[in-house]
Amino acid sequence: MKLVRAFIIFALIPLIAGYFVASDQGKKQQINTNTNFNTSNILSTNQITLTQNGKIISLTQKGVTSVDTKHPQLIEVMPVGSNFIGVDKQTNYSSLYEFSETGAILKTLLNGNTGNIDTMDWFTDPAINPTHTKIAFVSDKDKDQTNVQDNALFVLDLHTGTVEKIADPDPHSGGIAHPMWNPVNANLITYDYYQYDDSFNPFSVIEEYDIDAQTTTDLTTQKQNAYQGAFSPNGKQIIFLERNDNITTEMIIAEVTANGLTNVRSIASGDFAYPEFSNTPNHIYYLQAQDNSGYDLYTATIANGTLTNSTLLSTGEQLLGNSGFVVSKIKE
C-alpha cells in the first residue's frame, strides 16, 4: 500500500504535472503586442521613450503615457523638449517627422517619398545632440551621386533645415548604423561601421568621427564585432554589444580615455539589444530576447563586473528589438 501511495505522489503526479506544465508553456507562443509596463523600478530621474503600434510610449517611475500618432509604421522615436521626432517606415522609403506631445505631425523633417521608387530614400537611426539643435541620422539619400548604395552618416540642423553628409562608407561595404553624439564633446559622433573581411565574413567596428578635424578613430577592433554603443552621461564610460557568433551577444563596458577604450570587460552574455546608461552611475536599461517571441525591457545595475538586480520593466510581452528606446533625464 505504501508503495502504491509513493508511486502516486512521486511518480504519477509529477508525470501529469510535467505534461500540463509543458502544455501550458506550449500555448505561450503568440506575440502580444499590447505590452504592459511595470514602471516602479525606473529611476525617478529617468524617462524612457519608445514606440509600439504607432504609439509613442513614455515611461517614468510615476507611470505610462501613451500617445497615438496614427502612424502604425512608426519604428523609432525620441523626445525633443515636449515634442517627439520619429521615423515612419513605409514599404519603399522612410521619413523623419516631428510630432507634437499629442501625436500630431508638426513638421516633415526629411521626406523619403519622392514618388519614384528608384529615387526614394531611407532615413533611419536619428540621434539628437546634447543641445537639441542637430540630429545625426543614416540614409542612402546620396546613392545617385556617390555610387555608395549603403547608408551614410548625415547631420540635420534643426534651425536651418540644412543637411550635411558627415561620413561615407566604402561602396557596398555594409554601411553605417546607430550614430550617437558624445555627451561632452559636440564635435564627436560615434557610429557602427559594417564591413566584410577578406574572406567575405561580415564584421562591425564602432568608429568615432571628429567633425572639426575630419578624422576617424576606431574605438573597437574588427575581431570584437562591436555595435550599438552608448555613452554614460559624463562620457567617461561606453557600453556596447559584441557578437560572439551569429546568435548570442556579449554586453561590454569600457572606460573612455583620450587614448581609446581601456578596461574593456564583458558584463553579461545573452540576446541583448540597445544597452543604455541611466543618469545614475552603473545603472543601465536594455532589451533582452525572451524565448522566441520578441524583446523585453529590463533595468539592472553593474556591480563586481557583472549585471545585478536585473528587473523586468515590460510585462505581457513583447517589444520589437529593432525599435529600440531612448533614456532621457527628467526633473524629480
Binding site: 508525470l15 506550449g26 507562443q29 559594417y194 566584410y196 565574413n201 532589451l287 528589438g321
Partner: protein, 366 residues
C-alpha cells in the same frame, strides 16, 4: 512470524530487506524520482507534438504506445557511421509556371553518428559544373531538367558523395514554417539594402520590385521578413556568398529556436496542415522522428561553423554570359576530402579541374 524473534535468521539470509535506508536518503530518492517523472511528463508532451509534426509532414501516422499509466517511448537507435541529407530551396514564386523550379539553395547536411557531429556544407547556386549528360551548366539548373533526382545526381557526381535523403522547401513553405513557430529572433549581422527585391510573393504585380532596408542588430522577424533577409543579394558586394552566410545563419538560429523554445513545437501540427506540398522529402516518419529525437536529445550536435566552396573560387562568366562561380579545385578537394573522405575529394578535384579547363578555354575564345 514475529520479527523480534527472527532477527538472527533474517539477518543471516536477507539482511538488506530489513535494514531501512536513512530518512534523508529515502527523501532524496523520492524527490529525485519526482523530478525524473516530471521531466518525463514534460518530454512526453513535446514528443507527441513532434510526432504530430512528422505525421502531418508525411501524411502517415506515428503512434505512441500507451497502456494506462505505462507509456512506451520510441527507442532511439543510433544509425551507424554517416549520412548525407541534401537540403534544397527553390524560388517557386508567382512568376514560376513550370513543374521543376531551380534550386537556389543547396546544402548537404553531413551527419557523423560516430563523432556525433553535424556539418553543413553549402553549395553556391552559381557553381559551374559538368552535368551527368556531359553538358555544362550552373548546379542550380539541374533540378529544372528532371526535378529533385537530377539535383541529387549532380551533387553526387560533382562531389563524389552519396546522398542518402533529401528535403525540399519552396518560398511559401519557408514563410509558413517561420510563421508557424512564431517568427524568429535573428541577429542581423550585416545591413541589407536592396533596391530591386522582387515582389513576387502574395503580390498583385509579381514582376515588380521593392526596396529593402534591413538594419543590423537583434530583430524579431516573421516569415516574410526572414525570407527577405535570406533571399536578398542585389546590393551585397560579396553577392551569393553573403546570402549563403545569411541562409546558414537562419538555419542555425531556427534549430536553436526549436531546441530552446519548446513552445514552438506546439505549432507544428498547424504548420504541416498548412504546408500542403510546400515541403518534399523522402524521409519516412520513423526516420524523421529518429533524426529529430537525436537532435533534441543532443545525440548529434550541429557545428557552428558551416562549410562552403572555398572563398578563393572565382566569380566569372559563362560563354552565354551567365554569372558563374568556378570552384577552386585544389582547395575544394581538400575541404571535401576532410569532410567526406579522400575518394570524394579526388572526385571533386577531377570535376572542378574539368570545369576550370572549359572555363579557361571559353575565356581564351572570347
Amino acid at each position: 512470524m514475529n520479527n523480534d524473534y527472527d532477527i538472527p535468521h533474517l539477518e543471516r539470509h536477507t539482511p538488506q530487506t530489513k535494514k531501512e535506508k536513512p530518512f534523508f536518503v529515502r527523501f532524496l530518492l523520492c524527490i529525485f524520482c519526482a523530478i525524473i517523472f516530471f521531466g518525463l511528463g514534460y518530454g512526453i508532451f513535446f514528443l507527441q507534438k513532434f510526432q504530430g509534426f512528422i505525421a502531418a509532414n508525411t501524411g502517415q501516422k506515428v503512434t505512441v504506445k500507451t497502456n494506462n499509466a505505462k507509456v512506451s517511448l520510441p527507442s532511439i537507435t543510433e544509425p551507424t557511421n554517416q549520412e548525407n541529407i541534401l537540403l534544397l530551396g527553390s524560388d517557386n514564386d508567382q512568376k514560376f509556371s513550370g513543374s521543376n523550379p531551380l534550386t537556389q539553395t543547396m546544402m548537404v547536411v553531413h551527419i557523423d553518428y560516430d563523432t556525433k557531429k553535424v556539418v553543413m556544407f553549402s553549395i553556391p547556386r552559381d557553381l559551374w559544373i559538368q552535368k551527368p549528360d556531359g553538358d555544362y551548366g550552373k548546379i542550380d539548373q539541374a533540378a529544372e531538367e528532371d526535378g529533385i533526382p537530377s539535383a541529387i545526381a549532380v551533387v553526387e557526381q560533382t562531389f563524389g558523395i552519396h546522398i542518402d535523403h533529401y528535403a525540399w522547401v519552396g518560398l511559401y513553405g519557408f514563410i509558413k514554417s517561420i510563421d508557424a513557430v512564431g517568427g524568429v529572433n535573428l541577429q542581423v549581422i550585416h545591413p541589407v539594402l536592396d533596391y530591386s527585391y522582387p515582389t513576387d510573393i502574395n503580390s498583385s504585380n509579381p514582376y515588380g520590385y521593392q526596396r529593402l532596408d534591413i538594419q543590423p542588430g537583434m530583430q524579431h522577424m516573421d516569415g516574410e521578413q526572414a525570407l527577405q533577409y535570406v533571399r536578398s543579394r542585389h546590393e551585397d558586394v560579396v553577392g551569393d556568398f553573403g546570402r549563403t552566410q545569411r541562409q546558414r545563419q537562419l538555419l542555425l538560429t531556427m534549430k536553436d529556436t526549436i531546441l530552446t523554445s519548446p513552445a514552438s513545437l506546439e505549432q507544428f501540427p498547424t504548420l504541416f496542415n498548412s504546408l500542403n506540398g510546400q515541403i518534399k522529402t523522402d524521409l519516412t516518419p520513423p526516420m524523421a522522428l529518429q533524426l529529430g529525437s537525436l537532435f533534441l536529445t543532443n545525440k548529434i550536435v550541429p557545428q557552428q561553423e558551416t562549410l562552403s566552396i572555398p572563398d578563393d573560387s572565382q566569380i566569372g562568366w559563362s560563354t552565354d554570359q551567365q554569372s558563374i562561380v568556378i570552384g577552386n579545385a585544389t582547395a575544394s578537394a581538400q575541404l571535401i576530402s576532410n569532410l567526406f573522405g579522400s575518394q570524394a575529394g579526388q572526385t571533386t578535384f577531377n570535376s572542378l579541374v574539368s570545369v576550370q579547363d572549359i572555363a579557361s578555354q571559353s575565356a581564351e575564345g572570347q
